[in-house]
């Protein structure tokens, strides 16, 4: 059963002088209990796509095409009142900065009970005890006492837990987490990721994790989409993606991040140039200017997501499919030469 189904979603922002094409047709679906990763650098459109789905785009943003179906109903066509009911109850979102997404002048308990009472038919007392249970669920010590604390009295990690508590308050079927750990320290990040993993497992929730961190994706996602300039350039089961990255951008990302388990001697291979300007829509592949594999076709013709040829045992169809949008996928020989897909690398 598909919970959330995004098809050909397009979003653009218009300013007085120009239009920025932020999301240029992305499609994905999520099932209960599944964790989906959307990975890309800042400005690739990964956050915008989920804001669009929840109908909370900035005022100058507009969905220009595509559909987003939640349990078969199109979120983009739905009247606002209906969407509001789904948002927060069936679908919830956690943002990068928990401080700005909590109201600083209301206690955490008040904010939590408000969410509960808005969406569920419970009285104040029941909401209060449910709020306490939620804080306990996300691992906040002395949950009962902390209900009367204000957001600034929590540390960054604890605030993110509060945000997650608020997001899962109504047992949503889909949780969208946008860089939920980026602002946190690594040991706290590990705690939060563990909590998310646990929630997906125990509540059979679907998790859409948006991040720039390949390491986070590797540890938690079942399936991963790599996004560049508003499009998915590669999508595959996470294992397959890291073992057999076929898009030059994915390949480039993997080679450019230092790995903790790699030795010092290994030089990083940066991707040259900088992410492209999104004010124009290129006729060809958006990555072509930075790509070592680009040919004339890359500049002339927009590559679409296609199943990877000869991807062997794991190149199956459906949810196991490995798709890449590239005219010249990275050859196997280059993957081998770069030491990718062999588990540990270097002298570790």
């Amino acid at each position: 059963m598909t919970l959330l189904e995004i098809a050909d979603l397009q979003v653009s922002f218009s300013t007085r002088r120009q239009t920025v094409y932020a999301v240029n047709g992305i499609s994905y679906d999520v099932e209960p209990g599944e964790t989906l990763g959307i990975v890309g650098e800042s400005g690739c459109g990964k956050s915008v796509s989920s804001l669009a789905i929840l109908g909370i785009l900035a005022r100058n943003g507009r969905v220009t095409g595509g559909s987003a179906r939640f349990e078969g109903r199109d979120l983009l066509e739905m009247p606002d009142s209906q969407l509001r009911r789904i948002r927060g109850r069936d679908m919830a979102m956690v943002f990068q900065d928990p401080m700005t997404s909590l109201n600083p002048v209301l206690t955490v308990g008040r904010q939590l009970t408000e969410v509960l009472r808005r969406h569920l038919d419970v009285d104040r007392k029941a909401a209060r005890s449910e709020a306490q249970a939620l804080l306990e669920r996300v691992g906040i010590p002395n949950a009962g006492d902390r209900l009367s604390d204000y957001p600034h009295q929590f540390s960054g990690g604890m605030r993110q837990r509060v945000m997650i508590a608020m997001a899962i308050a109504c047992k949503p079927k889909v949780l969208i987490a946008d860089e939920p750990t980026t602002a946190l320290d690594v040991t706290i990040q590990a705690q939060i990721l563990e909590l998310l993993r646990d929630l997906v497992r125990s509540e059979d929730m679907a998790l859409v994790l948006i991040t720039h961190d390949l390491g986070v994706v590797a540890g938690i996602c079942d399936r991963t989409h790599v996004m560049y300039a508003g499009r998915f350039v590669e999508t595959a089961p996470t294992d397959e993606l890291f073992a057999q990255p076929r898009h030059p951008y994915t390949f480039g990302l993997l080679r450019s991040v230092p790995r903790l388990d790699a030795g010092r001697a290994q030089r990083l291979e940066p991707i040259t140039g900088a992410p492209r300007d999104l004010t124009e829509r290129p006729t060809g592949c958006a990555f072509a200017p930075r790509c070592a594999y680009a040919t004339q076709a890359s500049w002339d013709e927009l590559p679409i997501l296609r199943p990877v040829e000869g991807s062997g045992p794991s190149g199956g169809a459906g949810r196991r499919a490995h798709l890449v949008a590239c005219h010249n996928p990275v050859p196997q020989a280059d993957l081998t030469a770069a030491g990718i897909g062999r588990g540990r690398q270097g002298n570790a």
Binding site: F13, T15, R16, R17, Q18, V20, A22, S42, G43, G45, V48, A58, R59, N60, G61, P275, D277, L278, T279
Partner: protein, 298 residues
């Protein structure tokens, strides 16, 4: 342009490089500011070319003394005053005075206010406490009352009046500059400058001030308008420049307040002159504020 930039673009069109250059670009898109600039431009032209524009001298008598002097005619556009002087000429020459008052008193305020503010903001600590507490004391008096008091002490020469009005602006500028400097002082680029051994004065003048003056410029424009009103107000209360021949707008207004029923033109025209010049400055000030700090636009 990235997405984040596009989202922000509703607020900010572009980041500042040349402060004035960019501010001017944004000012040009603001109809209010353009109107303000047209108004003030007109007054400046009038002030500069007063002898060419005004048919008569400001003190020149072209008619006889009259209790109820005649209103506008084709010869005397704004009519005559009780001394038989051409009101139009007086108001044109008055533009010189009003602009002078605005500019000089703001300059006085800026000089002292910015020095004190920069001192307090840059050095902090005890200097800051002493400077800011004295500013607080000055702010405890309503500005206009303070000006009245100062004029009483300093005397009623035009120069003294401008200084008095300027002094009331000192705490406003000092506070503003100190606040922005404090905000900038801990920023990385200041730390970077310190880490290469840049001497203090250079840090203040090359780094802190250029990044802190924007709100002060806005405030200065608005203060210019207030100064014109304040001096007009002082004149109206009889505390204006002691020289009765000076064609100061507030004074013309005050002298003729009793003739409101008979010769209304004597009140209307100087009143309009004050309103239009103040309006122009305020429009420019607000436009500048938006242009310099685009976040204020909603």
């Amino acid at each position: 342009m990235s997405i984040a930039e596009a989202q922000a673009a509703e607020l900010a069109v572009e980041q500042p490089s040349g402060l004035l250059k960019d501010a001017l670009v944004r000012l040009r898109r603001n109809p209010g500011a353009i109107l303000g600039m047209v108004l003030i431009g007109a007054f400046v032209l009038l002030a500069i070319f007063a002898p060419l524009v005004a048919p008569y001298g400001p003190a020149e008598r072209v008619g006889g003394l009259a209790t109820n002097p005649p209103g506008p005619t084709s010869e005397f556009w704004f009519g005559l005053d009780d001394q038989g002087r051409d009101l139009f000429s007086r108001i044109v020459y008055g533009a010189r005075l009003s602009l002078l008052i605005g500019v000089v008193s703001v300059a006085v305020g800026l000089t002292f206010g910015m020095s004190l503010g920069a001192l307090a903001g840059y050095f902090g600590g005890r200097i800051d406490t002493v400077v800011m507490r004295s500013m607080d004391i000055m702010l405890a008096f309503p500005g206009f009352l303070l000006a009245i008091g100062l004029v009483t002490v300093l005397g009623r020469g035009l120069g003294q009046i401008m200084i008095a009005v300027g002094i009331t602006n000192v705490p406003v500028f000092a506070r503003l500059l100190r606040g922005t400097i404090l905000g900038q002082r801990e920023s990385d680029y200041i730390l970077a400058a310190r880490s290469v051994g840049t001497p203090g004065p250079r840090i203040l003048f090359r780094h802190l001030l250029p990044n802190s003056v924007a709100p002060v410029i806005v405030q200065a424009t608005l203060a210019c308008a207030t100064a014109i009103i304040d001096v007009a107000g002082l004149s109206f209360l009889g505390l204006g420049p002691s020289d009765p021949g000076l064609p100061e707008w507030g004074r013309i207004l005050a002298d003729n307040a009793g003739r409101l029923n008979q010769s209304i033109h004597l009140v209307i025209f100087p009143g309009f002159a004050i309103v239009l010049s103040v309006l122009g400055l305020n429009l420019i000030g607000d436009g500048l504020r938006e242009a310099i700090d685009p976040k204020l636009r909603s």
